[in-house]
């Protein structure tokens, strides 16, 4: 009988651990799903400063400026609905260009500028960033639209 009790105890502990971990994972994944923002999302939903997110959109043509220190760049990211200013310090990927798609990882500072810690540009000009697939950007109207 004693052995049986112990086994029950172990099984319960295991169940609690697994369910606990599962719940943690689900909550984290929910955050993760909310982790990707376009400038339009930022405008409508709002993101508190300091929260780590991914910001995806197009680099507005003519907005890319390099600061005097040579390693900081400023640019605007747009999805047609809204435009967000962003900065990045570091070595930008080769394919990071004005008018191209970008996914930036980082957080907003208190003044509404997105401080990117990492820029992801797909190493292939043919492709848009994964989350922006099926969207295109009209240079003249700064409009972003879904193809389908």
């Amino acid at each position: 009988m004693k052995a049986k009790h112990q086994r029950l105890f172990l099984a319960l502990a295991a169940l609690v651990a697994i369910i606990g971990a599962g719940l943690l994972a689900v909550s984290a994944l929910k955050d993760e799903a909310a982790y990707f923002y376009t400038p339009g999302d930022v405008k409508t939903k709002g993101v508190e400063p300091g929260k780590a997110i991914r910001l995806g959109g197009m680099v507005v043509k003519g907005s890319l400026k390099r600061a005097a220190d040579g390693v900081t760049i400023r640019f605007d990211v747009t999805d047609g609905k809204a435009t967000v200013p962003a900065t990045f310090s570091g070595i930008a990927p080769d394919l990071f260009k004005e008018g191209s798609g970008v996914v930036a990882e980082g957080a907003f500072d208190g003044k509404g500028t997105f401080v990117a810690t990492n820029l992801l540009a797909k190493h292939d000009e043919r492709y848009m960033p994964r989350e922006l697939e099926g969207m295109s950007y009209n240079e003249s109207t700064h409009e972003m639209k879904a193809e389908r």
């Binding site: 008018g99 000009e125 848009m128 697939e133 295109s136 009209n138 193809e147």
Partner: protein, 175 residues
């Protein structure tokens, strides 16, 4: 109770297999095909993209002979990679026109000087307007245009050496 537990892994696994299968057989939406294939080209007129080539207008693409319309840019690495294949196509007697995307004339001149110039006419599409109208989503892309100004085929990505015979076949079919 134990009976159920024993079959749980199999049930979970079958659910995963279903998921994998749905992921696998979903159409590959990473490549966006133009909806204009089989349709006439939209009308456009573009300024000249290079200093030693004439400008490009949609009307000149319907002169009776099938030809290629190559979308490229001087800042695009795969475009440089496909340059030898375009030269080979030109040597095979194919007429190639081009649209340079988000580009500037001096940059295009430099690019052509470096990688060769297989183009008969080059239009400059500084704002990607014509590219969007064509249903092209990136560079490089190449359209096969039949003699009547209709899009017969769209090739997405750079033309590799083993694509050349296929492109030639498409041109012949468009006759």
């Amino acid at each position: 109770m134990r009976k159920l537990w024993i079959w749980l892994p199999l049930a979970l696994f079958l659910a995963f297999i279903g998921l994998f299968a749905s992921g696998l057989f979903q159409p590959d939406d990473r490549i966006i095909h133009s909806r204009l294939v089989g349709q006439p080209l939209p009308a456009f007129t573009l300024p000249a993209g290079a200093s030693d080539r004439p400008a490009l207008a949609s009307a000149s693409l319907a002169n009776g002979k099938p030809r290629l319309l190559n979308i490229f840019a001087s800042w695009c690495v795969p475009c440089a990679a496909e340059a030898p294949q375009l030269m080979a196509l030109k040597q095979a007697g194919v007429e190639i026109d081009a649209i340079a995307i988000r580009d500037a004339r001096p940059d295009v001149d430099g690019f052509l000087k470096r990688y060769g110039n297989p183009y008969a006419r080059i239009g400059l599409d500084a704002r990607s307007a014509v590219q969007m109208a064509l249903g092209s989503s990136g560079v490089p892309e190449t359209f096969v245009i039949d003699g009547q100004g209709r899009i017969a085929y769209q090739h997405i990505g750079d033309i590799r050496a083993d694509d050349v015979p296929m492109i030639l076949d498409r041109l012949r079919d468009a006759q």
